[in-house]
Amino acid sequence: MKIPKLCLLTGAFLLIAVTGSAGALASPALVKEKQCHTCHRFASGPAEKEQSAPDLFFAGDKFQKKWLENFLQHPETIRLTGHTRDPGFLKGTPHTGLHPVLNPEEARQMTDYLMSLKTLKESPPLNLPALSKGKRVRVKILFERDYSCIACHQSYNLTRQPRGGVSGPSLIDAGNRLRPEWVYQWLKNPKAFVEQGRMPLYHFDEETLKRLTQYIMFHKKDDPGK
């Protein structure tokens, strides 16, 4: 049997259209209805004054789908002093109040939309293994000492209590929340996502980038690891 060439071509084209980075879905009516855009940016460009919530135009690069769908139904606090653009940020008293809550059907629809928003041209899977306990102790020293990460980010202490600074997003559930590929890209070049952030820039070598990513992905609320 001979499959017509045209058929193959159209098939390939469709496949690219669905999976390609240009595959952002149309913004659902829900965004307007729930006023998500008054607080969040859905496209890069200058933020409006009131948009003092995390940017979502790279949500598909950043979040794990399961976490996202759950967050939209049960929002939780990640930035203990608010987003860095919040006028109350430096005082520790964020101006934005309670987060809208979506029902399961709305959350599913919104998650599909958000997961289609991407800025990374390509993001090949990292496939990093979990760190051995010994390596983890070594990277912990990088995190808490050499690079001062813990001065701004919550992590776990030995008894698994959250511990650390609050000006950066808490990392205590990062392993369920963030995609390792995104964490890696963030540590490599945060400017690809935030023009100017309050986190210091680092020039990590490849090895350190991977180690820190593995270390961050180890942080899970529901899984103490070994």
Binding site: T81, F89, L90, K91, G92, V137, K140, I141, E144, R145, D146, Y147, S148, I150, A151, C152, S155, N157, L158, R163, G164, G165, V166, S167, Q196, R198, P200, L201, Y202, H203
Partner: protein
Amino acid sequence: MKRAFFIIAGMILWAFSAGCGPDPAEEKSATPPAESAPTTPAVSPTPRAYPVTARTRKTYQFYCAQCHGAEGHGNGINAPYLTVPPRDHTKADYLETRSDAHLFTAIQKGGLAVGRAPCMPSWEHTLDESTTHSLVSYIRELCRCEAL
């Protein structure tokens, strides 16, 4: 009673083991943030050649205030969670014992590089040298002091 002792002992250990939020057992290699003689590096900046501008103040608010506080009193939002408190930039008694070169290196290379606590990050890839010099000038303005 006994328990209280252990808690206090634990806290002391923690505070002196010199990671930024360390777990004592893991921090053997850390340099304690003692009030010892600082390593004064061989840079000779002339900070007053780098005056405090509106940009300097903005830079301080944007990056430094999250720990050192908006007015530099060392009471930023992270301060309660750090094992070593951020330096109060308005207090002359410590800052006049430190050279401008020391402050410059502390900002560029971080606390560890000048024998201080690692809670103070390195800003060398974030801030260029002239901005860093102007921050030193700004800290001198805040403490109303010069190096002795």
